[in-house]
Symmetry: C2
Subunit: 345 residues, 2 copies
């Protein structure tokens, strides 16, 4: 039978309260007593029953998600996943709420973080904007003992406890590798160029994807020429416009990598007028639109991060921190999914 606090109390010759104090590292126990109790805990191989502990604590964990009000399918998806998690949360003694802030803006995000530092929730998850002010605000939260997880977009150099998102450098390299492989056999025959489309170079994940993409192409497929990056601001209409112009300007585009959002515009442009030389298109995030485009051959590969997994992972990590529990690392690593027509979920 698994040992309980009672067993420890009996074996150590102390009361339940003292055992509890030792267990929870609370003060008010003489050093000798503490050591005695701790050795009994070790000897008996005691592991705390977290469910019972939480029941007794009657503690619910208020977790707050800060998400951009972006209209992109992906962010809407994140939003939906948070809502769904919230509706499921009651069962698990967590109280999940969310705050929407203007996308890509520093000031409102910082204000929100500062407010949360006062409210002291049990944990905060945010889609980070990469700015020093945000970093400071995050660090302050952590300093106050509030665990912070970055979601989708990381905040390097900050003290955030965890990042629930993909490796964007690897994403770019993956796109480059596949594009290179798809196009390579013709490389020797004729000049081929590759177009790259981003939302904005101000966003960290886009920058990183591009960096990975360029460096791998340069090293492994040097004959492929990468055209200057086009910025579509993740807006379908702009993306559409830009691409049509591009296709009219250049006839030698063999590959296209879209690192950002606004995929509806991309798909529309490809369907209306597609360069004859274009033989491989890679974009990010599986949505109903990109899914259809994959199925009808408009897009060849979708690189994806599982929004549901990211949100659930952020919650698990925050809860584990609040409970001082360990997490299963493998379970919390967000995969870079490669989807083609045939392995769609």
């Amino acid at each position: 039978m698994k040992p309980t606090v009672h067993d420890i109390a009996a074996a150590a010759g102390v009361s339940l309260a003292t055992v509890d104090r030792v267990l929870n590292r609370r003060s008010g126990v003489r050093e000798v007593t503490r050591e005695r109790v701790e050795s009994v805990i070790r000897d008996l191989g005691y592991v705390r029953d977290v469910a019972a502990a939480n029941l007794a604590k009657r503690r619910v964990y208020p977790l707050v998600f800060i998400i951009p009000d972006s209209a992109s399918s992906f962010m809407r998806r994140i939003n939906r996943e948070v809502r769904e998690a919230a509706s499921r949360a009651a069962i698990e003694r967590t109280d999940i709420s969310w705050i929407e802030v203007p996308a890509f803006e520093v000031a409102p995000l910082v204000r929100t973080l500062q407010r949360l530092a006062e409210e002291r929730p049990a944990g905060v998850a945010l889609v980070a904007v990469d700015a020093p002010e945000v970093r400071d605000a995050v660090d302050k939260l952590v300093a106050r003992g509030i665990p912070v997880v970055t979601l989708v977009s990381d905040l390097p150099g900050s003290k955030r406890n965890h990042y629930a998102g993909i490796d964007n450098l690897a994403a770019g390299r993956t796109a480059a590798h596949l594009l290179g492989r798809f196009l390579q056999p013709r490389t020797l025959e004729e000049g081929q160029s590759i177009a790259v489309l981003a939302g904005s170079m101000l966003v960290r994940d886009h920058r990183e994807r591009l960096e990975g993409f360029r460096s791998l192409l340069a090293s492994d497929f040097p004959s492929l020429e990468v055209l200057p990056v086009l910025e579509g601001r993740d807006d379908p209409a702009q993306v559409h416009q830009i691409l049509l112009e591009l296709f009219q300007r250049r006839a030698d585009i063999a590959g296209l990598y879209s690192v950002g959002a606004g995929n509806r515009g991309l798909i529309r442009a490809l369907k209306e007028q597609r360069g004859a030389a274009l033989r491989a298109v890679i974009a990010h995030e599986l949505t109903e639109h990109t899914r259809d485009a994959l199925l009808d051959g408009t897009i060849d590969v979708i690189l994806n991060q599982d929004a549901g997994h990211e949100v659930r992972s952020a919650i698990r990590v925050l809860k584990a921190r609040a409970d001082e529990l360990a997490v299963i690392d493998a379970q919390e690593r967000i995969r870079l999914d490669i989807f083609i027509k045939e392995n769609l979920p």
Copy 2:
């Protein structure tokens, strides 16, 4: 404040015991009383606190995994994941044990299932062998109210409650699509053939992968010739031997798809003597060997199923059934991972 059994009891004018009987559909309650209590439960929007319930029940769920004693890296990995889950399980009121049975054999598996029908654990997970006797044994377990999950290899036509594994038809199609894309540009120039290597055609997952592979290649890349399947019995030495022979016999092999295990033999053969025309190799399961092969370019693509995810998913599903709880479908769907050099975890 969330309503509790006390609130229900008070509102319905009955005792806790009666509420509990209604909640757990136990007998000994007059129909009118039951209805009254049930309507109160609905009105208050009561949701049972499973943690508290389990605490009171002092119930632990004995779950049994039946896994083949195969020496393949993948099965060893499954084995390890089960052990790890078992060591973690105590915290979660589950008691996980496992039984090893000879791989691919029907009789021992059936005997084990029959024994479990007597022992009545709270749930059973098995790597199924596709035979009518196994199906019957599984159906009997389910009929006795013991939830059953198939792991890695499914048992179609049986009453198993859930399958924790990938879609093997889709896996084959995915391999075909990628191989086709990697080779396609040359298709017109010269004859190319594709070699396929399997463990045994008696195993369902291998058969399905092959079927998906062949059908997609036939429809989308008809100019690629698929050679007769080679059977290596998932044994590195045999696989090695067979491949060396093949490479000596044919010089026109442009692509290779290995649906089974024995990847060490595959890798060794490729390194020793590789057909000059061979430009794309796809195999299954990410292990330390295939990982290295991916990195050094010996293998181009690895299709993978996440063993840890499969095991954890099986446990979640079995527990949820025992607790009469719902599962998050998206969380339990096992993805077909595509790994290339660049997106390795």
